[in-house]
């Protein structure tokens, strides 16, 4: 369970202070499919980054599965990012000089999983997503849809229960976007917690709960 209590995030650039999140309190149960909606600059990505331990809150308490995340050091946070949460980004976030295979196995390499075991798990996920024929290719040799499937495979291979998707269909055409959302829905039905950031109501419609954020605060 994800529990945020009075989370605030303040950015300071020289003398300019920007409050990206203001006293955000939120509970997301395991197995939920939540969409976070809001205009550009509303703080939805900041919220997702804090949930995903990519950023830390300026104040407030964040608890994940009874573990107080806001008290963890950077090494412990990296373990959370490796095992409990995983990401799917709008720009796919693939390492361009590395093959699809190398991109997918990244979380397992960080976890020091032996090469043989890594190979099995990468192949299994690739088969699930129908990308086993793309594994030797570099990202630039693939279409947007294929790249997003590679990114999704990387998220799934770690076995993390929480998938954080930041505008995952933003760089895809309508048909591919729908295909991806169907995959995410299936994953949710199989027990994964999905937290999706989007500004598209049609995409948010796949979620079971929609949270709207505006000027750093939750509206509904």
């Amino acid at each position: 369970m994800i529990q945020l209590e009075n989370i605030s995030k303040i950015y300071k650039f020289d003398d300019v202070v920007t409050e990206a999140l203001k006293d955000v309190s939120l509970i997301i149960e395991n197995g939920e499919f939540v969409a976070i909606m809001g205009a550009s600059g509303s703080g939805k990505s900041t919220l997702l980054n804090i949930i995903g331990c990519m950023d830390t809150a300026t104040s407030g308490k964040y608890t994940l599965d009874n573990e107080v995340i806001s008290e963890l050091n950077s090494k412990e946070l990296s373990k959370i990012r490796n095992k409990k949460v995983t990401f799917v980004f709008q720009n796919f976030a693939l390492m361009e000089k590395y093959t699809a295979y190398e991109n997918i196995e990244l979380p397992l390499v960080n976890r020091k999983v032996p090469a043989g075991e890594r190979h099995k798990r990468v192949l299994k996920v690739a088969q699930q997503l129908g990308i086993e024929g793309q594994l030797r290719k570099l990202p630039k040799q693939m279409s947007g849809g294929q790249q997003q499937r590679i990114a999704l495979a990387r998220a799934l291979v770690s076995g993390a229960d929480i998938i954080l998707a930041d505008e995952p269909t933003g760089a895809l055409d309508h048909k591919t976007g729908i295909e991806l959302m169907e995959i995410l829905r299936n994953l949710n039905e199989n027990g994964k917690t999905i937290i999706l950031v989007t500004h598209d109501p049609a995409i948010a419609g796949y979620a079971k709960r929609i949270i709207t954020i505006s000027d750093g605060g939750i509206c509904q």
Partner: protein
């Protein structure tokens, strides 16, 4: 982590190659400078250690010309006698030459030994030859070592007179103490008989034959030591060969009196104290070393700047990759450590290449007498210098890129466009 490092190196081949080339050039120059400098000092110390007398009171005679070659042997003998008659003054000379001992000509064991020792040298085709250092016994008074003039007094045995001969330790199994060796094939020493008095110790050294000061001292393991015979002392050919290898040790300032006497005997010469000679030699050599050092420093600075620039650009270009790695569980510390190890590995490889190149350069291009000093210096002092240099260079080169990397915000990195 090592897998990530090698994977990163493989995916950035051009950058790796650039750093490797720059570091290798810098390290080769640094190694050559360090080795030349330290080897030069080692060589000077070895030469200085050969003298038992104070260097400022020990002189070297350099003969520029003699009026009459045929009588020059007698003139040299008279000059040395004149110097030795001065109070607290000793004069002596030496010359190394190839000689044939009759008794060793058919000795297959001796020939086999020489074939091995002289392989690739001028004596390779004459394996029955012996390298003998002939000398005035007075020279032993100014040299370090266990042998004295008394050890080289003629030996009377069975009514015959023999000149004493000391053999290098390599010949221990080939001949014995008391063996008589005769030189018959030599025009000068025809029929001179020598008796093996003892074997020289393992660490026995002598001045080089071509130049006693600027050339490294030579091992006596495969050589013989024998005093000049009476004929040798006045033989012009033999004495002309000692030019540049005549030493005087004296408490008095004998330069003028020696030059004056020499002129009377038809010899034009220059007397220089060993300390002055070494000082001048150091000065000349230091100019070359300074130039080498300056070049090495310039190349090192250029390499460091190039490496810093390359790494900064790499760190900027790989922003997105770092962000992705952090998002999937890598810590910033691991990324910084990977970068450090990557540069360290590259520099160690560059150092190994530079060391190997320098080793073979010295092994192939130097004459054998220099090889020992230079290779020994390369493998000791220079190697330590190289390790210190690698650590220093890696630390300097990584400073700026690591600071850049530490300031990155992971959440922003992942959104970077390529």
């Amino acid at each position: 982590m090592m897998r990530n490092i090698f994977s990163s190196m493989w995916h950035n081949k051009l950058q790796v190659l650039l750093i490797l080339i720059l570091s290798t050039i810098a390290f080769v120059l640094a190694l050559l400078t360090l080795t030349n400098s330290f080897a030069f000092n080692t060589q000077i110390s070895m030469v200085e250690d050969m003298f038992s007398s104070p260097l400022d009171k020990t002189y070297r005679i350099d003969v520029s010309c003699t009026e009459n070659f045929d009588t020059s042997g007698v003139a040299f003998a008279e000059l040395k006698e004149f110097i030795n008659q001065q109070g607290n003054t000793v004069c002596g000379a030496y010359d190394q030459t190839g000689a044939y001992f009759d008794e060793l000509q058919g000795n297959q064991e001796y020939i086999a030994l020489n074939q091995k020792a002289y392989a690739g040298t001028l004596y390779a085709d004459n394996p029955s030859i012996a390298e003998v250092i002939f000398f005035d016994t007075e020279i032993l008074n100014l040299m370090s070592g266990r042998l004295s003039q008394e050890d080289f007094q003629p030996v009377e045995q069975n009514g015959e007179t023999y000149l004493p001969l000391y053999a290098g330790k390599d010949f221990k199994g080939v001949m014995s103490v008391g063996d008589v060796l005769t030189i018959s094939r030599d025009n000068i020493r025809n029929g001179t008989k020598y008796i093996v008095k003892d074997f020289l110790p393992d660490d026995a050294k002598w001045f080089d034959d071509s130049d006693p000061i600027t050339m490294p001292v030579t091992s006596l393991n495969h050589k013989f030591l024998a005093p000049f015979s009476k004929i040798d002392k006045t033989d012009s050919m033999t004495q002309q060969s000692t030019v540049g290898k005549i030493f005087i040790v004296s408490d008095n300032d004998i330069k003028d009196s020696v030059s004056k006497k020499a002129l009377q005997l038809g010899i034009k010469l220059r007397v220089t104290s060993i300390s002055d000679f070494i000082e001048q030699w150091k000065e000349d050599n230091n100019q070359i070393l300074k130039l080498n050092f300056f070049l090495a420093v310039v190349v090192l600075i250029c390499s460091a700047i190039s490496m810093i620039s390359t790494l900064c650009v790499t760190v900027l270009l790989k922003k997105k990759e770092y962000g992705i790695r952090i998002a999937f569980g890598t810590t910033k510390r691991q990324i910084i450590l990977s970068l450090c190890f990557e540069i360290l590995i590259l520099n160690v490889i560059a150092g190994a290449i530079a060391f190997t190149y320098s080793y073979f350069k010295y092994a192939n291009s130097l004459i054998s007498s220099f090889q020992e000093i230079y290779i020994k210096t390369l493998c000791s002092t220079s190697l330590i210098g190289l390790i210190v240099l690698i650590i220093f260079l890696v630390a300097i080169v990584l400073l700026i890129p690591v600071v850049i990397l530490a300031r990155y915000n992971p959440a922003e990195l992942v959104k970077e466009e390529s």
